[in-house]
């Protein structure tokens, strides 16, 4: 399947590739009855990296996380942490901790007792528990609330406690299941930054599950994009944005224009447009980001080698710093263009560089 080859594609130039592998997910599949939720997932997680599993609801991302944590068992495949076969261990023997979506703090214990829970069940000496709990609470700025019950603190504070409760055990891997989804937008952005810097500080590998592509872009070293139980692409945010492997990835991450055409004799054609392309002959699909299409002032000559076209402005959407305009470029081709200024005229002249038209594979429909 297509997903197997994409899962092997990882960051060539990024530092992650030289880090040692921490967790190896090998050909994991999961079905509930006849319903296949995950198919043939293979993924390497490196020491100290921030990996985001990104996908729509129902893509299987939470199931994958629960398999790593040990709350679900895989129908097929293996998990390896170094020389250890992880999927044969019960959750309480895995050096993996989880931050739950709804935090799952123990309501009958204080903040302090919640954070100390893992150390206490591991029967650490009292003095060690006290100092490590104090340190962990200090790290998430929750020391003033140490004696409070979870019901007496806010959602954002519960979030920090859940994080401290997991990190105090010094896991090798921390799993986070949409931990920011319950927070309001401002707090959420603030927590994204805090979480990212905390991860750098502690140096523990984070596997972060989210459906929010922006969140994934901001925080991750690498993104694993999951679609209907299969991996579409695993790459750095930059790479996944500028070199999407499939039409689905291109559309899921940011805005894009998909140009359907064909390549023949080193030339790509789409409606009346054509540009040189060094790809094998045959039908082709190209992703062209709105910000890679430039408006050319009337009468000016554009860059040499770029593809030029004229079109009529259909609609405009103001986004603050930029504006997205829809341009009808003839033959039913509508391109979305991102402009920084305001294009008041009804007819515009556009150009894009052939390099920015990135060939992508079709994403076949899946059940």
């Amino acid at each position: 399947m297509a997903s197997i080859s994409t899962s092997g594609v990882s960051s060539g130039a990024e530092p992650n590739s030289i880090r040692a592998s921490l967790l190896s997910i090998r050909n994991v599949a999961k079905s509930f009855g006849r319903n296949a939720v995950l198919r043939n997932i293979s993924l390497e997680i490196a020491e100290g990296e921030f990996l985001t599993i990104l996908g729509e609801s129902g893509s299987g991302k939470t199931t994958l996380l629960r398999i790593v944590a040990g709350f679900e068992s895989a129908s097929a495949g293996e998990l390896w942490m170094g020389e250890e076969r992880l999927d044969r261990q019960p959750p309480y023997r895995r050096r993996v901790n989880t931050v739950f979506q709804s935090y799952a703090l123990f309501p009958h214990l204080t903040v302090e007792q919640n954070v100390g829970y893992g150390l206490r069940v591991a029967k650490r000496p009292d003095a060690e528990i006290v100092s490590r709990v104090a340190e962990a609470l200090d790290k998430v700025k929750m020391t003033p609330h140490a004696k409070s019950k979870p019901s007496k603190i806010s959602g954002g504070q519960q979030q920090r406690v859940a994080l401290a409760r997991a990190l105090v055990n010094r896991p090798r891997l921390l799993l986070l299941d949409e931990p920011l989804s319950a927070l309001d937008a401002n707090l959420r952005r603030q927590m994204q930054v805090e979480l990212k810097s905390l991860q750098r500080e502690v140096g523990i590998a984070f596997v972060f599950v989210t459906h929010d592509q922006e969140e994934a872009m901001v925080m991750s070293d690498r993104i694993a994009l999951l679609r209907s139980g299969e991996l579409e692409q695993v790459a750095t945010p930059r790479e996944i944005y500028s070199r999407p492997a499939t039409a689905y990835v291109a559309q899921f991450i940011g805005h894009t224009n998909l140009l359907k055409g064909e390549v023949r004799g080193g030339v790509a054609r789409c409606t009346s447009l054509s540009w040189p392309a060094k790809f094998p002959d045959g039908p082709a699909l190209f992703s062209l980001r709105p910000e890679n299409i430039r408006l050319v002032a009337a009468g000016r000559t554009g860059d040499a080698g770029s593809v030029r076209l004229r079109g009529k402005v259909l609609h405009r959407a103001f986004h603050g710093a930029t504006e997205l305009i829809g341009v009808e470029a003839g033959d039913g081709l509508v391109l979305v263009v991102r402009t920084s200024g305001s294009a008041a005229q009804d007819t515009v002249e556009l150009e894009f560089s052939p390099d920015d038209a990135v060939p992508v594979r079709e994403s076949p429909g899946r059940v």
């Binding site: 709350f71 023997r93 123990f106 009958h108 829970y117 997991a166």
Partner: protein
């Protein structure tokens, strides 16, 4: 909004009902407990604490009250020991058969109390099912006499009858525990046993308290099981009250005992509610 007349019309009947059939009888009982009865069996409306003094002075009354509490305590402990594991199994491990098992626990509640008490009589009697079986397999030579007409028979029967009453609140409490707390506990390295004692059991305490209160209060006031299966040694306080209001014709003393029981039970309910509040976190 509803008119004043409509509100009165709706709320009056239940208020009248409670007043006539609950408050007035309690008031009457309260009054009777201070009156006395002459040897000629007429009731004298003289106000004193004679009946309450008798309660403390005459051994049979306070001894029977203590025995009743001891029986009720044993019923409570055995009902909890049976009801808790049952509720725990159903809530956490029964899976798809949960509803079936739940119904199986509930069905005995539909069967008349009397039928169930008589059933135990048939099982425990000298010529009963159990003794016949024991002799048939030559475990015993003679019928075991302590099985029927003994505190043992009363405790056994009441435990059988009140276990569903302890099961239900415990089951409800266990069902209310978010399952991700159990997962979080495992995730933090706690074994299933540690998870039970540190998370599941503490969070089920309100259910345990409610169940224990049911079993204790209901069996403390029971009079049918001791009447049918208790024999002379298994008499409970309610049997004395019944006879005082009946054959013995000493309503004042019966009322005094009833009032003591009422105070005891109400304080227990009050205490249990306070404790349940202290242990609930929802």
């Amino acid at each position: 909004m509803f008119s004043r007349a409509y509100k009165t019309a709706v709320t009056a009947p239940p208020l009248v009902w409670v007043a006539v059939f609950l408050l007035v009888p309690y008031l009457l009982m309260f009054c009777y407990s201070f009156w006395s009865v002459t040897p000629a069996q007429t009731i004298v409306h003289s106000w004193d604490l004679g009946n309450y003094r008798n309660l403390l002075r005459v051994d049979v009354y306070w001894q029977t009250l203590l025995r009743s509490m001891w029986i009720a305590a044993r019923v409570t402990i055995f009902s909890l020991l049976l009801g808790y594991p049952l509720a725990y199994f159903l809530s956490f491990y029964a899976g798809r058969r949960k509803d079936l098992f739940y119904q199986l626990v509930i069905i005995p509640l539909w069967v008349s109390y009397l039928v169930r008490a008589y059933a135990w009589k048939t099982i425990l009697g000298s010529d009963g099912v159990l003794n016949t079986l024991l002799q048939y397999v030559h475990l015993t030579k003679h019928p075991l006499e302590f099985l029927l007409y003994s505190p043992f028979a009363v405790v056994l029967t009441l435990t059988h009858i009140y276990t569903p009453f302890t099961f239900l609140p415990i089951y409800a409490a266990l069902e209310h525990i978010p399952r991700n707390l159990v997962e979080a506990s495992h995730d933090l390295g706690a074994t299933p046993a540690q998870t039970f004692w540190k998370v599941i059991f503490p969070l089920s305490i309100p259910g345990v308290l409610a169940g224990a209160t049911f079993a204790f209060v209901l069996s403390l006031g029971d009079f049918l099981a001791p009447l049918l299966l208790g024999g002379p040694s298994g008499i409970m306080i309610s049997n004395i009250v019944v006879s005082l209001f009946g054959a013995a014709y000493n309503w004042p003393l019966g009322a005094a005992i009833s009032l003591c029981m009422l105070v005891l039970v109400v304080s227990l309910l009050f205490l249990s509610e306070r404790l349940e509040k202290k242990w609930s976190f929802s």
